[in-house]
Amino acid sequence: MDENQLAGYADKNQLPPPSERIPAIRWLKQNLFSSWFNAILTIVSTVLIMTIVFGLLRWALEARWEVIPANLKLLLVGTYPVEHLWRVWATVYLIAFLLGFSSGAHGGLMRRVSTTAALVSVVLAVLPFPWGTRGWLLGIAVAAVAGFGLGYLGKGIRWCKRLEIASWILSFPISLIFLNGVGGILPVIKGRTMWGFMLNLIGAVVGIGLSFPVGVLLALGRRSKLPAIRLVCTAYIEIIRGVPLISLLFMASIMLQLLLPASVRPDLLIRAMLTITAFSAAYMAENVRGGLQAIPQGQYEAAYAVGLNRALTTILIILPQALRIVIPAIVGQFIALFMDTTLFGFIAILELLNITRSIMGNLEWRGTIFELYAFIGIVFWILCYSMSYVSRRIEKTLGVGER
């Protein structure tokens, strides 16, 4: 048989898969009305869902949504002084620029994220904000596009890639210093614990940025060959995981207040962020450990056999595979950490939830509790959903080399 005959044989007898489409009526019958009991269930739940949806709709139409725009600045950046607001915008621009830069250089997921960010800012700019705010919002899109252009030009250049990574890493401390101010150069903003939703974001970013490496080290420590290190890491993880975050936060706020004199005591916000980091790191460690356990012994052996030492084996071979396995769990942990920043409200930090409470206490806005909580819910949902979307995309992208 020659090649052509073979090819013909492969094509012959090949049928399309059977159609699986079913008519709507059949579908209804199969899925919703297959028995008397199911029929009743279907009708009852339809009525129930309708009632709830209509109730929600009526409420949404009558609600005093003006409470949100009227207090938007307070909700988002708390008491951050208006004359320094440009620092917040500049920080947002920095991030947008970096997103754009990465998207220009790599495309793929980064491009989606930065395009979304730019589009959202343009859409927001169309909403009835004051003209000044619209200008600032459009700036986000401009920064993203500028970053994109530069990233596109620098694509494939070695030092550009290094610069990109360094900028991303440095952008976080720079943003924090920039927002907070440094003595002598940029005035320090007073009342660090009253910055609204921005505090939730900062807390989450710091918490995520620190708890991830700490968690990885703890996980490695728990599997260490040295008993002392193993013991310390295990004890730390198990103790932290046995205590609710809120009690740790109270300890950090009240007990340290009693134990340490004010001169050596770090600022309340810093204590809160370190606490949430310490807390999250323990959970992170357990997630990472799960991934480490899934790596077959053969990977270690192959790495040692080509002459890699323990450290290089861990960094180059084991961790990349282990972390890839646990991306969903890690992102779940990030999302939990982000939402846990609302607990800062209990130790007198004016983050989003606490700011909301103070707005509700205002006579003018009495009875707007649902509107405000709906707003909080939507804001958190958007960010958490984005995170889980990005994680699913990353998983897909990385899935190439999966066994």
């Binding site: 052996e301 192959a302 002459g307 290089l312 595979q321 190439v400 080399g401 066994r403």
Partner: protein, 248 residues
């Protein structure tokens, strides 16, 4: 150099897993450029034995000297020997998150501190040598078993080892892929590489091996030339084994 009697020297090597005595006094010597095939029934300790050569398993008694370096707990000795000894596993054990080319160039870059471009160039040459240059950018999961095993051979060769160990390199392969891997190994043997091959491929043993070692119950039962081994084995145990595997 402790001595120059051979590139691999085993003197009364013992090993236990708990109470189980896996290696019961192994003694043998191998010369540079020799190809030795080890065979024997499942569980007889063949894998354990060759894995003691690059210290993937530790021996508890006796002496192992590889290229003049005695294997002890000294980490520097172990690392030195691992650079001289390449190993190919039954299950390939490629790094699944790296492409074929990266699998091969990784160790030269990180361990031998080669320049990246040079390491990749060398890796590409090795992939050509094992016959799959066109698969360089693929991930292991995208390769057939035979291709994966050839990448694994290239990966081991990338460190320019003096000795290559093969632990049943074709046992996990479909019959049609066995030949392509054995061909690579034959070429390697002809190029003068010192090789220890654990395998049940008796055709390969007959054609390539300088010596065949028969293992049973952690002991070296028979050591012979291929000619003698197949036609005139010394031990009844060897005869039984041969009759069992040659039946099929």
């Amino acid at each position: 150099m402790i001595n120059n009697e051979g590139i691999i020297i085993y003197r009364d090597v013992h090993k236990w897993y708990g109470d189980f005595h896996v290696l019961r006094g192994i003694t043998f010597t191998m010369q540079k450029g020799e190809v030795v095939v080890i065979c024997g029934p499942s569980g007889s300790g063949k894998s354990t034995c060759i894995r003691t050569i690059n210290r993937l398993e530790e021996h508890q008694r006796g002496q192992i000297i590889v290229d003049g370096i005695e294997l002890t707990n000294d980490l520097r000795n172990i690392e030195a020997i691992r650079r001289e000894v390449g190993i190919v596993f039954q299950q390939f054990n490629l790094f699944p998150h790296l492409t074929a080319l990266q699998n091969v160039s990784l160790a030269p870059f990180w361990v031998l501190k080669m320049r990246k471009s040079k390491a990749e160039e060398a890796a590409m040459k090795l992939l050509e040598r094992v016959g799959i240059p066109e698969q360089a950018q693929k991930y292991p999961a995208q390769l057939s078993g035979g291709q994966q095993q050839r990448v694994a051979i290239a990966r081991a060769l990338a460190m320019s080892p003096k000795i290559m160990l093969f632990d049943e390199p074709t046992s996990a392969l479909d019959p049609e892929m066995i030949k392509e891997v054995l061909d690579v190994m034959k070429n390697l043997a002809r190029s003068g590489m010192t090789m220890i091959v654990v395998t049940h491929e008796m055709g390969f043993a007959r054609e390539v091996a300088d010596r065949i070692i028969f293992f049973d119950y952690g002991q070296l039962v028979e050591e012979n030339t291929p000619e003698e081994f197949f036609h005139n084995p010394k031990h009844d145990r060897t005869k039984l084994f041969l009759s069992q595997i040659l039946e099929y």
